[in-house]
Symmetry: D3
Amino acid sequence: MRSIEFVRNYTKYAEGSVLTVFGDTKVICTASIEESVPPFLRGRGRGWLTAEYGMLPRSTHTRMEREAARGRQSGRTQEIQRLIGRSIRAAFDLNAFGERTLKLDCDVIQADGGTRTASISGVMIAAYDAFSLMVEEGLIEKVPLNHFVAAISVGVIQGIPMLDLDYQEDSSCDTDMNVVMTESGDFVEIQGTAEGGPFSHSMLNEMLGMAQKGIDELIHMQKRVLGLEND
Amino acid sequence: MRSIEFVRNYTKYAEGSVLTVFGDTKVICTASIEESVPPFLRGRGRGWLTAEYGMLPRSTHTRMEREAARGRQSGRTQEIQRLIGRSIRAAFDLNAFGERTLKLDCDVIQADGGTRTASISGVMIAAYDAFSLMVEEGLIEKVPLNHFVAAISVGVIQGIPMLDLDYQEDSSCDTDMNVVMTESGDFVEIQGTAEGGPFSHSMLNEMLGMAQKGIDELIHMQKRVLGLEND
Amino acid sequence: MRSIEFVRNYTKYAEGSVLTVFGDTKVICTASIEESVPPFLRGRGRGWLTAEYGMLPRSTHTRMEREAARGRQSGRTQEIQRLIGRSIRAAFDLNAFGERTLKLDCDVIQADGGTRTASISGVMIAAYDAFSLMVEEGLIEKVPLNHFVAAISVGVIQGIPMLDLDYQEDSSCDTDMNVVMTESGDFVEIQGTAEGGPFSHSMLNEMLGMAQKGIDELIHMQKRVLGLEND
Amino acid sequence: MRSIEFVRNYTKYAEGSVLTVFGDTKVICTASIEESVPPFLRGRGRGWLTAEYGMLPRSTHTRMEREAARGRQSGRTQEIQRLIGRSIRAAFDLNAFGERTLKLDCDVIQADGGTRTASISGVMIAAYDAFSLMVEEGLIEKVPLNHFVAAISVGVIQGIPMLDLDYQEDSSCDTDMNVVMTESGDFVEIQGTAEGGPFSHSMLNEMLGMAQKGIDELIHMQKRVLGLEND
Amino acid sequence: MRSIEFVRNYTKYAEGSVLTVFGDTKVICTASIEESVPPFLRGRGRGWLTAEYGMLPRSTHTRMEREAARGRQSGRTQEIQRLIGRSIRAAFDLNAFGERTLKLDCDVIQADGGTRTASISGVMIAAYDAFSLMVEEGLIEKVPLNHFVAAISVGVIQGIPMLDLDYQEDSSCDTDMNVVMTESGDFVEIQGTAEGGPFSHSMLNEMLGMAQKGIDELIHMQKRVLGLEND
Amino acid sequence: MRSIEFVRNYTKYAEGSVLTVFGDTKVICTASIEESVPPFLRGRGRGWLTAEYGMLPRSTHTRMEREAARGRQSGRTQEIQRLIGRSIRAAFDLNAFGERTLKLDCDVIQADGGTRTASISGVMIAAYDAFSLMVEEGLIEKVPLNHFVAAISVGVIQGIPMLDLDYQEDSSCDTDMNVVMTESGDFVEIQGTAEGGPFSHSMLNEMLGMAQKGIDELIHMQKRVLGLEND
């Protein structure tokens, strides 16, 4: 894995805010609490959690068109924000924080591969911070945690599985896999794509084993940064 | 698996056209050849392949809003059409049919779960037919096949893995996985989501084994329907 | 007229569903009941009926761009769906089925001319079926029918009026007219366009006479298919 | 018919510009020449003609939402501008003015019914003026006129056919018909809608006869205003 | 200043309607009263005022694309309508006419420079007329006027400041400034842009002095046209 | 003025990249060079410069809707990015860097008032850096500088003019003015709005004098940070 860092309280106004650094990939992850739920959930006494993802136009090697100027989010953006939402919804108990919505925003300010896994791993901390604030304010009794989740990418380059690929590695790999796991080593999401040729079941198992080690390490980092575990 | 049927030459004008039936799920899959490639590929002497997906408003239990009227495709639609495109791009050699684009359309006329896997499995045949037509017309020498691909869903319901879920099963399952594989049992795409609780590595292996059997059967059906294999 | 067929109960979930076949033109027509009316009608105790129209991208000789991908419906699409809505609103008594909306969808899966007249003629049956279902369910006492309506195209080709033009005839005709009529031979809609040169009043009368015969036959077919009349 | 007036050269920059007044309905009609044709016509040596229609937000009794602010043109707007385009394309020979586009704009500044027929009748003059300017500038030899066209509405109110309905009449009429005709009494477009109950063939003939008289008068007015005929 | 004219009651339905003429620039300015306020103001007992701006496609020397057809308003349009809204909100007391919205529309039918300043100066009168009508109808006791406002452009051409530039002057000027002022000579809005080179503080003062004289004259014209002052 | 900081080379890929900090307002400003110009400038041998502006959804006290998700940029966003573009175009000679486009992006990651003036002041440095890189790469001979520009806000709070307002001050001020100036004290842009009551010419002069001092200081900071001037 590349050098990883989570900077809590990175911006001032969000209920949770974390700068997530995976090598040269940098993502601002925030969690915002809103005192309402979408219409289809009103009156059911439960909460909701949703995620949005974006990239600054010049987060990338060559400038990308701004989605707001273009008038719509790309398929890739929507795919990623749906993945983030599903991953973090698995981490918390939506029945345990009232009719509120947690809005997660992951905005990439520098992109060198792995932005979706960095987003998930970092916004997990921002969401935890937002729930902690609700506990402090007496709105809920405890953080409605199911289990910590983190995400990592694994790829196969010239037949060799590798963890946490940067942009150059990602561009040249045969297989690209994103894994979201809990602290107990169970899967929340697996998304694997054969970019070059198809991959075998044994290679899959090798990649998943590698991912599990990475995620275990990431979840310890998350807990340490939140003060839930000692260094 | 549910009762499965592929009806070739279902509509009259497309270069390839297959009605795909998985139980009560019915998808019209067509393949259209266009004599050009997108701007970013012009002059490179290679082809392109892209997919679009849609649902008729009343393909579902309750009527859905028409995406054309709403003015944009949902994130789900974009996610599915990107998956179909990647899957079928893996099946064919894009360097071997000149500067042409194969446009695949998968339109669901009745939806009872598994529309994305039915789309992939059926549009594979439509694409093969379109390439066969190009061979007949002397445009290319042979179908530029890498390997057949098919797709199937697997889910876990009350702890028991099940193949090819219908809508009711899909709505109540703990884990939902879509697998795209080649005839040799290698993976092209794996997308697994823990809807209920996270799932273990051994359950994953059980699901993938089940998927492999289903896909093996589907690829035999594809070949029989194309006359490449006897019943 | 070309060979015409109406296949009731073509899809499984809609309250009314008819595959309409006019020669090589095939349209899936469905009617969906919704238990509400648009805001401008709320509290007035009357119903509403609206129609939408679409074409599958490869329903046509060369593939058309998907309207959902393009982000808006064409002027032609809007013109057609407004025509379908007006025609079927004339067929039923909007005051006689409570604060409900009947949503009609006409989706062309194969297009060889006359898609708008096939849509109207077929969706009339789907709407009737949906109202019959409401009668069965005890929601209303009887089908709120004003009169059956059907539609047919007439054109002038090299000076000779012809009924129910296919795509090739339509492309080469001098005059293109769509007529929507009741069973008693009165007009609901007339839309005639001089594609070549202007047409005379006597030619108009000749075309309308021809249309009336076609529509009379269509309405008998509608009734037979609904079991309201014997063969 | 209501009091009708055509004011030529109403605005300063357009190649043709006419304020069209039908009673309290007032439409600014302009014709603009552009030295190119749409891509699908390039290199064929012929011209094109297209029309757009709009209403000022407060042209109506209660303010309408601005279509530019709403982000799209309504179905009604598109239907009307397609009708205007087809009508005026019938009036001129598109093969006789080179690879140029005539863009017609009809903008309603006050609406009291009949805006589409006023638009067609007035923009005919603006188009003629634009072609005359091209003759003056030596770009073409003569105005490429097929025949003058004009348009009028006819309606049936409590069983009695009436010409050129204003908004109040239009709102309460049983049948609403718009007729576009040439000076020789032949039809370019007929669009009739049964708003109340269906209408009979004899009533249709009565309406068309009335329309013919109105259009004859309108075409004389068009010619007088253009100086092609004496008062 | 160019020849200036304000024609009250220019159209028939709006609560206030003024044709504003500054030389060859002509703008239809209307004020519409709506009996509601936007959601964020409901229940506060105060009113709102908002403005929209548009140009007819052929108001300009060469035809502009229609914003409704293009699907969105340009940045320039939005900038102008925000300026008009702020300017006229300063002129009236929003707390003094109940929960109502005044909607201002400024539609340019001929553009020869200075359309935004003509819009502000003319729509001030239309707004006053709309409030007067509310007084007549007994809805409010008096026109909730803070102070009259008017607007004028000033520019520097080859070092010489000039008032009320037309299109040709505007295109060639070094500095372009729009000033909105009250009758007492205080500023409501100043927007100055160095088109050529930057401008000095003394030139700014010269321009503002010139603007003040123009605005003083404009406000006298507004009052005369409203009958609040004698000629 | 609040505490101000410019952090050069803040992100890794852009040709110029500056984190701009004005108190609690933080803006990432980047400059990207593209080797082409918009169509309307092709073949003229000169360059272009354009700016875009955005805010992260949770840069603000309460979360704002993401413009990319909403599908369009607000009027405010467009107004600001047009202002930034005009301001920096005045700073450089567009004829002196070939047919290239400088794209400026100002993305607010934390907003406490004055985001537009911080954007202009910071992106000036990023643009300078991008041009310096072009000099280093031998693409141009020298930075095509006309003059340094910087921007500052001035407001009047309870009758007292104040420089560089934060969000709370800005919300409560009577007058809000943004000034863009060159190092020689000349104006590039002035935009002043009376939020409370109109303001007098003498108050304007007081504000402009204050702005001039602030901008002088800012330009010295810009030069120091670029190493063009000693501390």
